[in-house]
């Protein structure tokens, strides 16, 4: 990477005699009556419309930095793309809006499904250990369940006939070119990850929508040891955290036990994938400009020519208590630039790995208007901050002419939007504990309840009315993946699944296997508190009493709840509880007018032993809500992963509205569309492909 000379780090606007700032350039064009709204014109015209001079589009901007490859986002697309491009000799700058690399991958479960005869499938078939001897657990799947080739994987990922338990077809709409390339690159990507310090255990099952016919999932791990040493594959106890008690900067969520698929002492979650990739990228000379949000991709013309670089704004995240800027765990390779706006030139290519649109209410409402409700966030909200998953990569691509793909596929996976069972936190998908720098932004870990514990409470909407059977409220089906079977929507499971068999999609099979509870839709429904024009559903609340806490041994003290973050309330009476919720929760726009009546009615149902409204009583015991104090805790719907985004081809090139690649522009993961596979596997392969091809671009 080359840093352009000049610049006081505190200056806020690019300056220079020779070069014109892009803002000035566009302004000049506007005065002249030319110039695109967002693109950079290649020609400066006089006011009469006569060409004054020919200026190279790239020279029209004062670039503050330049590199062969500019990667937007340091997550599961960006890190492999950056490493791969460096391996092929390119200089790489990674820009991320957050203060620490890793993206959403960092808080994930590190479940990586590839397949097609990938190196781990072959390792398990042969019954071999890993080269370090960490993986000593026995094989989890039979040889037959592990045996396949890329052609088989490709058919699995484009099988029109598979229907899931929500009556969705998760493979039918996948882009064929994209998934052919996916199948052909799984082997290389698995190998690439392992060559960059990622350790993975035995193959066990397959992750959501990763195919129904074979086992393809491996979980990443590090071995607990005296010190964290990525090269040696170890993580200290301090860095691994303590399940149920403490996180660390290294691992936002405490790392779990992976002994079953590796050996005793193996600890797993997204940190075991993200941190090794980050370590490798830094070691290989990738440079990181963190706290920097990509606002615009700059192309020669708005809808034609190569992409030139990006404009990015300073996006620091501050500790709410101290006001101090949050810093990355590791610093080597960081470029700390605090100017308001900078321009970064990409000599070869730009790779968009900026994540999806799950945290952008306006964007996600394209798929589901009720999701315009701003109360609900995307998973990893505290970790990623308010600008994470904001669709900025997709929007920037659209502004330079990119097409979109797979827009309907948000409806094809049950975890896309759902109601997790973690109460009393806005960040309801995961269970961060104190120890990570963003915990103070979250304020509470949350009360993590399994489905069965919902027998002890009722759930009400923003006006205090029940709206669904609480025993089903966090239940979700779908996710057709090996070994699948009737509980996932397929008539046959595992090796017995028949690819492309019309019977998989028969009316009879759908009738026999449909099991989607639809609670999320009831939660998002209009109610008496919904008003025009958006008719927001408002928050939903779990209501329970002291007896429930004692009976089911819930942890409701800090850090599981916070007395001040507005997501958990305690009161002596139901009347007072309703008043506290109205006064203390940001999105409680109306009073819970019906709460007292609802609790009284519920208690009468308990006396009768049945619930005529939502059929409680036949599936689990019912308990009165009567013993003070009383509690209200949010049950926050979350938009987890998102589908639908920039259309890319098998080379991960972004495709325009005419079906042509936009020169120099690549994308993958949740910034791209056309792939319904859940989780990390799809994005990692996209990153590998994008890095490979971006590095091969000619230099401009």
């Amino acid at each position: 990477m080359a840093k352009k000379p000049s610049s006081d780090q505190k200056e806020r606007k690019p300056q220079g005699q020779k070069a014109v700032s892009r803002r000035d350039f566009v302004k000049t064009g506007a005065v002249a009556g030319v110039g695109a709204a967002t693109g950079v014109g290649a020609t400066v015209l006089s006011t009469s419309g006569t060409a004054l001079s020919q200026v190279s589009p790239a020279d029209a901007i004062q670039w503050h930095y330049e590199a062969d490859i500019v990667v937007i986002g340091a997550g599961c697309v960006g890190l492999p793309a950056a490493i791969r491009a460096r391996d092929l000799g390119a200089s790489v700058i990674v820009v991320d809006q957050n203060f620490d690399p890793g993206g959403k991958m960092l808080h994930s479960g590190a479940q990586v499904s590839f397949g097609g005869g990938d190196p781990l499938q072959l390792r398990d078939i042969a019954g071999e250990k890993d080269k370090e001897g960490f993986v000593t657990a026995p094989r989890q799947q039979s040889v037959e369940e592990l045996t396949e080739d890329p052609d088989f994987l490709f058919r699995d990922h484009t099988d029109w006939s598979v229907m899931d338990a929500a009556a969705q077809a998760p493979y039918r709409y996948n882009e064929r070119d994209l998934h052919r390339a996916y199948a052909d690159n799984c082997y290389a990507t698995r190998e690439f990850l392992m060559a960059n310090y990622v350790r993975m255990g035995r193959i066990s099952g397959t992750h959501g929508n990763g195919g129904v016919s074979r086992a393809r999932r491996a979980v990443c791990f590090l071995m607990e040891g005296a010190a964290t040493d990525i090269k040696k594959g170890t993580v200290s106890t301090q860095d691994a955290g303590v399940e149920g008690a403490r996180s660390s900067h290294f691992a936002p969520r405490p790392m779990g036990d992976a002994a079953k698929v590796a050996s005793a002492g193996a600890r797993s979650n997204g940190a075991a994938l993200a941190r090794p990739l980050e370590f490798s990228a830094r070691e290989k000379g990738v440079q990181f400009i963190l706290n920097r949000h990509m606002d615009e991709i700059i192309r020669e013309q708005q809808f034609s020519g190569r992409v030139l670089g990006i404009r990015a704004s300073y996006s620091p995240r501050l500790d709410p208590q101290t006001g101090v800027r949050l810093e990355s765990l590791w610093q080597n390779g960081n470029v700390d630039d605090r100017r308001e706006t900078i321009y970064i030139r990409a000599r070869k290519a730009i790779v968009i790995g900026a994540g999806g649109h799950g945290a952008n209410p306006q964007f996600r409402s394209m798929f589901y208007p009720a999701w315009r409700e701003p109360a609900f966030v995307s998973s990893g909200w505290a970790l990623l901050g308010p600008r994470g998953q904001d669709a900025s990569g997709i929007i920037a691509g659209m502004r330079v002419g990119a097409n979109l793909a797979g827009m309907q596929q948000n409806l094809g996976y049950a975890a896309t939007f759902h109601i997790p069972g973690i109460l009393a936190t806005r960040d309801s998908y995961t269970d961060m504990f104190p120890g990570h720098p963003t915990f103070s932004l979250r304020g509470s870990t949350g009360i993590n309840l399994p489905n069965d514990s919902f027998q002890h409470l009722i759930v009400v909407n923003q006006v205090g009315k029940r709206f669904f059977n609480e025993m089903l409220i966090t239940d979700r089906k779908g996710g057709a993946a090996f070994p699948a079977g009737p509980n996932k929507g397929q008539p046959k499971s595992g090796l017995n699944h028949v690819q492309l068999d019309w019977r998989n999609a028969s009316v009879e099979n759908i009738k026999a296997t449909y099991a989607e509870p639809n609670s999320i839709h009831a939660a998002l429904a209009m109610n008496e508190g919904s008003t025009a024009p958006d008719y927001f559903s408002g928050p939903i609340w779990a209501i329970f009493d002291r007896a429930a806490v004692e009976r089911d041994k819930w942890k409701i003290e800090p850090p599981f709840t916070s007395p001040s973050n507005g997501f958990f309330f305690k009161a002596d009476t139901i009347e007072e509880l309703a008043a506290k919720v109205k006064a203390g929760h940001e999105f409680q726009r109306v009073p819970l007018t019906h709460l007292v009546e609802t609790v009284a009615r519920w208690n009468s149902y308990v006396d009768k032993g049945r619930d005529p409204e939502f059929a409680r009583g036949s599936d689990a015991p019912m308990y009165k809500i009567e013993k003070p104090p009383f509690y209200a805790a949010t049950l926050n719907p979350v938009w987890h992963d998102s589908y639908g985004g920039l259309r890319i081809n098998g080379r991960a090139q972004v495709i325009d509205m005419q079906g042509e690649p936009i020169p120099g522009l690549y994308a993958g993961g949740e910034s791209s569309g056309g792939g319904q596979q859940h989780g990390l596997g799809r994005a990692l392969v996209h990153g590998y492909i994008a890095g490979t091809n971006a590095a091969k671009e000619s230099t401009t």
Binding site: S108, G109, A110, Q111, H207, G421, Y429, T430, P450, N451, D452, S453, Q455, D545, R546, A547, R551, D552, K553, D572, T573, E575, E576, A600, N603, S604, D607, K608, G609, G617, S618, D619, A620, P621, K624, E626, K627, P628, P629, H678, G679, L680
Partner: protein, 198 residues
């Protein structure tokens, strides 16, 4: 004159079933929304026909983990015939140092005949076969908890029930039982799977 302070009434620890004409107790809590002390304030309990069946006086004592909720325990007698009755607690308007509005709450009283059958339930972990201590056993309206041996005994009337056994972190087991005489059943519970997140 200032508007009367609202007051709120709570009733809890009402037995899920009471045998005809037997004594039982409930807890009554009352508080002022403005935090005034209601110590020494009277309240009344009324049956399904509106007849007063008990009176009480709020003590100084407040319920733990609450702010200003005075609590009293009241003994009552079940009606003479089986059924589900709606009773109530009322606190009349009063003028302490400040006027306080009246308030009330209803609660259900399930009256049953004398149970004639003894049901014994043994609850174990399905995999380890270890006894589940403190498991909740519900045969509506009868409820009981397993002892240190994972065993619960409950007397019920003859009839058909849905027997539930539940325990923290386990999947609730529900099965229909027809009780015609003393009986014993063994219930094996599965641990609830931990949801994988990615």
């Amino acid at each position: 004159m200032d508007a009367p302070h609202p007051t709120y009434v709570v009733v809890w620890d009402v037995p899920t079933n009471v045998v005809v004409r037997e004594k039982f107790t409930v807890k009554v809590g009352i508080k002022c929304s403005n935090g005034c002390s209601l110590a020494s304030s009277p309240f009344g309990l009324y049956d399904h026909e509106g007849a007063q069946v008990a009176v009480g006086t709020l003590p100084d004592e407040q319920w733990p983990d609450t702010v200003g909720l005075h609590v009293a325990e009241v003994e009552l007698e079940a009606p003479a015939s089986e059924g589900l009755y709606t009773w109530s607690v009322k606190r009349a308007q009063s003028d302490l140092e400040m006027p306080h509005a009246e308030s009330s709450i209803e609660f259900g009283v399930r009256v049953v005949g004398r149970p004639e059958c003894l049901v014994t339930i043994e609850s174990v972990d399905k995999v380890t076969q270890a006894p589940l201590i403190g498991a909740r056993v519900v045969m509506h309206p009868y409820r009981v908890v397993t002892d240190e041996h994972g065993v619960a005994r409950v007397r019920v009337a003859k009839g058909n029930y849905q027997l539930f056994v539940s325990q923290t972190n386990y999947l609730t087991c529900g099965l229909p039982v027809d009780v015609a005489a003393d009986m014993t059943t063994r219930v094996q519970l599965d641990l609830e799977p931990v949801l994988e997140r990615n």
